[in-house]
Amino acid sequence: MSEFPEMTDETTGAALPDPGKSAPPPVFPLAVPWRGWTLGRRLSQLLFLLLFLFFFGQATYKGEDQLAWPVDLFFRFDPLLLLEHVLATGSIVPRLLLSLFFLGLTFVVGRFFCGWVCPLGTTLDGCRRLWRRADPDPPLVFKLRRVKYYLLFFLMGAAVFHINLAGLLDPLSLLFRTLATLLYPALSYGVEGVFGQAYEWGPPAANLSEPVYQVLKESVLPFRRPVYLLPFLTLGIFGTIIALERLAPRFWCRCLCPLGALYGLVARFAWLRKRPVWLCRDCGDCQPVCKMGAIHQEAAPQHQTAECILCLNCQVHCPKDRVAFKFGGKVARPGLDLGRRQVVAAAAAGVVAVPFLRLKSLAWRPDEYLLRPPGVESEAAFLSQCCRCGLCFKVCPTGGLQPLGWEEGLDGLYTSRLVPRLGYCEYNCTLCSQVCPTGAIPRLPLDVKHASPLGTAFINRSRCIPYTEGRDCLVCEEHCPTAPKAISFYTAEVPDLHGKKVLIKLPVVNPDQCIGCGICENKCPVGGEAAIRVKRSLRLEM
């Protein structure tokens, strides 16, 4: 069969000198067919997942104003975020340049990130064990592989017009914010519930459970029980990605992940390649063990470095010990599942989508109560930078930073907002700006942060207790952190609930002093909508 022209050369796994050429390309026997490689790969996956979780755990207030660990390290190594940031803002965040190292490494060895590092990939590998289906991959999966490239080019097309949606699909952002807003709160709720029950029962159950609980509280449980908005959407997205594992292993990585697509584009030229490059005519046993379908009769009988994530299962499972990964080689590389037309069409779709995505934000100003994290000056700039990773949600000591829903359209989904009723902006805290990987929340010295308002508090005099009931309150004034206080009071006669005039202290806001931290709204004793709320207007905004 002419389909397999170089088979005799390559099946032995050794580079045979080509008599037709004087200087054969160098082939290093670095990758010996050693079965320990898959063990090493699993260890690496586990290690990076644990590191990811460790940084997740460290992204919290630990008694120091500066975080001890670079908890955004994974995101700094994410070339998709860098690419999108550059396209959307035209500027470079120096710390994201670390991702060029991974990109360079991909040129050498291929999509190692997906197979050895990516914590979402590891999560999928782990979940598949519970969810396994032995059937061969359906042909549809091979057709859908190109979708990830479409998504990537779509994102890039939109980014040129300042819409940066990378964070919605970036695997690191997706996993981190799912952990932060869904899995970790659920876990802590469950654990606290179990130990809380034992505590209620009292001795002897509590005697056994409390020491364990204290250890957990010190180590993995959150200081305060986290509550986040959008749990069902987050669960739906994450659950779907897990459920797709049943269709085919690593369905997300094969067909949807735009970071995988970016690495795939580079890995197509990777120096390290599987030998034999062609599917052996007499065997083909590596097809079902390949998680990615990187070598498969269905798609192409040639090993595809753009799909291969170097899991090395083929090497371990090869019954004839032919498989090895080696540098160099002259075998022609297979084309991508992608034509020029599709690239152009996908990028154009991204561009065309821009006005649709922006319709809402163009049509009217942002919601009056949409507050962005401290230091954010412009809504548009923030939207083009926020990578929706959820690091700021996790690190916010009061739990005030929350994912935004559909209020501002798809453009704003999962970007960070302050919801004062859930948590206020702690006056002397700058943690969110320290963890933000893209600088969407700028790093400001504390005194500059103190002078950067998030909004301005307004008193609703038809809800405020002293105004409406003629009774004492001033909780807002008491908590106002600025000096002098942005909330002061004057004494006046007000009719009380019985219509009798009483002298009472009435709070008023001095907008020039107010920094919009929202502690007043958070602590306001009026139920439901607070009687004092922070609005984004009166802020210096073009």
Binding site: Y199, F223, P397, Y427, R471, E478, P481, A483, K505, C524
Partner: protein, 307 residues
């Protein structure tokens, strides 16, 4: 042996061994931390060594052994509600708290817990008030700084309360053998001043903002349940405006004073006059506390021991 009996015996013992100064202490002190109205006897000391001030006032009241027996669990409740550094005067001075904890340990306490239900994030308030570090620096495993555990708030009826008939209170404080209240003297916008009685806001749970509607009666009511065995008012520096959170050094006046006693109303009344130049009757919760029989608000009836 109940508390009263113990105090009597301790005092008798002190009398017998004839410890100089203690021979002369007023017999009213034998009725410390009573069920009913406590005796309005306060000790005050002035100076710049704040640890000495604490030691001197407690010595004047008969020494910490009068208040804390060996093997007792003590809760020390400073005001450390705010993410503010010590010089801003929003929290009790760390040196004062540390000395009190040390005295409790010397008296043989089994465990000394330092805690407060904060307004700002507890981790930030504990750290930046300097109190956590100061107490942990004693390096005695019996002295612990604990964060409030939400599970330990228990709902209780408050007998005799006029407004706060039911609320949630912190179990560890109610169950402790001894409870020592260590407030700081501050201006407070709504309550006007905050000292001993108002500091109990950090010993309760629930939606505390709601307490501020009818604040004065509520403060007096919560003090019906939350009775400190000893109150030590930190007036080493006082906040005169911008309270209770303050935030500017200009709001703070140095007074170099510590006042101690068992009568929270007397401490508040005396502090109101001496520190802030106001009348006790100007502060609603002092009057309400007096009406509930929590203590003495007439400054002329308060006996001051200068240590």
């Amino acid at each position: 042996m109940d508390r009263r009996e113990f105090l009597q015996r301790a005092a008798a013992l002190a009398f017998m061994v004839g410890v100089g100064k203690h021979l002369t202490f007023p017999p009213e002190l034998l009725a410390m931390a009573p069920e009913g109205r406590p005796e309005p006897i306060l000790a005050q000391a002035s100076g710049t060594n704040y640890a000495h001030l604490v030691g001197d006032t407690i010595q004047a009241l008969g020494g910490m052994k009068k208040f804390v027996n060996p093997n007792e669990v003590v809760v020390v409740k400073p005001n450390m509600a705010w993410d503010r550094t010590p010089e801003l005067g929003a929290n009790t001075h760390p040196v004062v708290v540390r000395k009190i904890v040390e005295l409790c340990l010397e008296a043989g306490a089994k465990k000394v817990k330092v805690l407060d239900h904060t307004c700002h994030d507890a981790r930030r308030a504990y750290a930046n008030s300097g109190i956590k570090a100061a107490v942990e620096d004693i390096k005695d495993p019996r002295a612990v700084v604990e964060y409030v555990d939400e599970r330990k708030f228990v709902e209780l009826n408050v007998p005799k309360a006029k407004s706060l008939k039911k609320w949630s209170f912190y179990k560890d404080i109610l169950e402790a053998d001894r409870f020592i209240n260590v407030p700081v003297a501050k201006h407070h916008s709504e309550a006007r001043l905050t000292m001993a009685m108002k500091n109990m806001m950090g010993a309760i749970g629930g939606w505390r903002g709601r307490i501020h509607v009818g604040l004065h009666q509520n403060i007096a009511d919560m003090n019906l349940l939350l009775r400190a065995d000893l109150t030590i008012l930190d007036a080493t520096r006082i906040m005169t405006e911008g309270g209770p959170s303050g935030g500017k050094p200009e709001y703070v006046q140095i007074k170099n004073l510590v006042i101690a006693g068992v009568d929270p109303v007397a401490i508040d009344a005396y502090g109101t006059t001496t520190l802030f130049g106001l009348k006790p009757a100007d502060i609603g919760y002092i009057t309400k506390g007096y009406e509930l029989g929590l203590g003495e608000m007439d400054v002329n009836k308060i006996k001051i021991l200068n240590a």
